[in-house]
Amino acid sequence: MRLTFGPEVEAFRQEFLAWLAENRPSEEEMAAEPAVSSGHVPDWAGRWTRRMFDAGWLVPGWPPERGGRNAGPVETLVYLEELTKAGVPRTTNPQGLGIIAPSILDYGNEAQIRDYAMPVLRGERAACLGMSEPGAGSDLASLSTRAVLDGDSFVITGQKVWTSGANYADFCFLFCRTDPQAPKHKGISVVLVDMATPGITVRPIAQIARPEYPDLNEVFFSDVVVPKENLVGRLNDGWAMANGSLAHERGMVWLSGVLGLERQMAAVLPEAPAALARLAPAERAVVADGLVQSAIDAVAARCLGYRGFAKLVRGGSAPEQALMKLFTSESNRRLALRAAELGGDRAVDIGATPDSDETWMERYFITFGGTISAGSSEIQRNIIAERVLGLPR
């Protein structure tokens, strides 16, 4: 165990920081056209992704032709940390870069890589992930959106819901049922669907915080005709990709959970002393204790994540990794509410503040996205209990 990485990793850090200082988008650029959805790639974001791709800084662990530099996992970790510290988003289409492009690279054919994966990596196209349905949430394998092969085309009918970024995305990585007779895990396939295809209706879902900026959507497919060469991988073999997609998502997602929690903590601590001073004296220690518990969570999340990461780097298994989504998303939610409560009667205010686009209470509502999506906290506990602790189903 040691607190710092070796000199070669530090040299890598300095190299990236120097490049970042020269090439990062300016605060003014980013503020002039903020991304309003996870499918929205503003001009500056597209150019920024392209610059990272060309310089091998988009996915450092990949080879140069895919926007990387064959960096190791520790270097990738350092890269992600420095990018976050600098306050620059790596992408405004995280599911495209983090899940969909890697899945197409893993499972797709050459044409799909050329026309779908690479444009995402160059910041030219944005993607959304069509998974959940009204009847298939945590139990994804129950999905019922149908893709029927008719000559050279699939004809797709059904409905997706909670589809992040579908209101802006260029294409959808769509999970659909291609064999209704097979057991539910065995009749699922993935098809790439251009969102401009006739028969698709996207209906944004206003959320309980910042309803004017919807990111989640309902997506309706009514006899949508898609060329059959848009099938990703083998027919009826989509379930492997569902697991693969989430594996991509969880690869380094623990780190964004940690960094997000640290960022929130760093934002609340400077506000806290003045807020505590406004409280009645008897309340102060109680409220302060809640913040201390969150401060411990933030440090613990980093330690736990780094410990699991170190085990993986050494080729071992890391049960800690299974805990990270549960821990960071729940911690984030606790912290947001405690921070909101610091405001006394201001706790219930909404709207932009001098420091932020939203208040702590709005952030509190937003944190439910973390505890519900991509495997709810309850599903995470099931996974931990069954797959890590080996408890019977």
Binding site: M1, V299, R302, R307, L391, P392
Partner: protein, 375 residues
């Protein structure tokens, strides 16, 4: 930051665990709890294996393996619910001696396992040096002590006791002094406690006279409070690690039990209500473990975050104890609250470890001050 064991650290951990399985099997732990055991043989074996000097520098007769090695041993001691002088001597007395006086003949003898020791710090007011009210008055024969020390680990058996007392009329961090007193010269009242593997005693100081040569730091010498604070961090993290080790055993036994105990025709571990509680227990154990290792590293590497990290580790260990002891006992059902089942040994070890050197609430209050959230 690399928080996984190196090969050397993993080898040490495996070795310590194997040794403790031999010298401190469950039957030996039970014997201590039933008043029939003799912990001195456990300590003798630790001395033969050079554990007292593991973390001490070579110029003080130690092995120079640093604080991480000490914390790993402490965790394993908690796991085995092992008795013996290690925690008091190696994680409390030795660090205080080193911080206060540097390498000395006495420290060399501690490293060699020839002398056991402890620190008499706590009083009614708690675990902070600033809360000490015991006094030391200079007389022609030496320093005359007065007051009562509480909950001194190994306070009835240690060869040497480092007593913290202050000049009359001083308060806070000012006027503190440190005195070496032979254990046999102190009136020790053993405390009836839940965990006899961590024996505590209250010490009456009235009438104790310390010769000038054994006043390690005379009252009012600068820097004592800070040195005690640093030594206290080592004691704190070791207790946190011991607590986490004990919690991990409770957790593991609970999961094992839930897999085999059947009700309604199925293992109780298949019920989702219990699964979720065990998932939360696992998180609490791993959260506290990771913080313990981080805190141990900040001490080993002299990182400025060590004060905060130590309190976070101790607070997390205490929170872990609260959850794991409660749900571990609860999920065992009736068998868990019987004396015959060994589960209560690590539970009591964990609760005691939480209590000593300040429980979770104490360390969160410290953190509130360190983070600028309290005066």
């Amino acid at each position: 930051m690399d928080l996984e064991f190196s090969e050397d650290e993993a080898a040490l951990r495996d070795n310590v665990r194997a040794v403790l399985a031999g010298i401190c099997p469950p039957a030996a732990v039970r014997a201590v709890f039933e008043g029939k055991g003799d912990p001195s043989s456990v300590w003798s074996r630790m001395v033969e294996l050079d554990w007292p000097g593991l973390g001490l520098p070579e110029e003080a007769g130690g092995l120079g393996m640093g604080y991480v090695a000490v914390a790993l041993v402490a965790e394993e001691l908690g796991r085995a619910v092992a008795p013996g002088a290690f925690l008091a001597t190696v994680t409390q007395f030795a660090p205080a001696l080193r911080e206060l006086a540097g390498p000395t003949d006495l420290l060399t003898r501690v490293a060699a396992g020839e002398v056991t020791g402890t620190v008499a710090l706590a009083e009614e007011g708690g675990w902070e040096p600033a809360a000490v009210v015991a006094t030391a008055r200079e007389t022609a024969d030496g320093w005359l002590l007065a007051g009562t020390k509480r909950a001194v680990l190994d306070g009835g058996t240690a060869d040497e006791v480092l007593v913290i007392a202050r000049a009359e009329g001083t308060r806070g961090d000012e006027g503190l002094g440190a005195f070496l007193v032979e254990g046999r010269g102190l009136a020790a009242t053993p405390r009836p406690v839940i965990d006899p593997t961590l024996p505590l005693a209250d010490l009456a100081l009235e009438g104790v006279v310390v010769p000038a040569g054994r006043a390690l730091v005379p009252p009012g010498a600068p820097g004592l409070a800070e040195a005690l604070e640093r030594a206290g961090q080592e004691a704190t993290v070791a207790l946190a690690a011991s607590t986490v080790g004990a919690c991990r055993v409770v957790f593991e036994r609970t999961v094992d039990y839930a897999k085999v105990r059947e009700q309604y025709g199925r293992p109780i571990g298949s019920f989702q209500a219990l699964k979720h509680r065990m998932a939360d227990m696992f998180l609490a154990v791993e959260r506290a473990t990771a913080l313990c290792y981080f805190a141990a590293l900040t001490i080993a590497e002299e990182d400025p975050r060590r004060a905060q990290a130590a309190s976070m580790a101790k607070a997390a260990a205490g929170e872990c104890q609260e959850l794991v002891a409660r749900d571990g006992l609860q999920l065992h059902g009736g068998i868990g609250v019987t004396w015959e089942n060994d589960l209560h040994f690590p539970v009591k070890r964990a609760i005691t470890g939480d209590t000593l050197y300040g429980n979770a609430v104490h360390h969160r209050a410290r953190l509130a001050r360190m983070l600028g959230l309290a005066a």
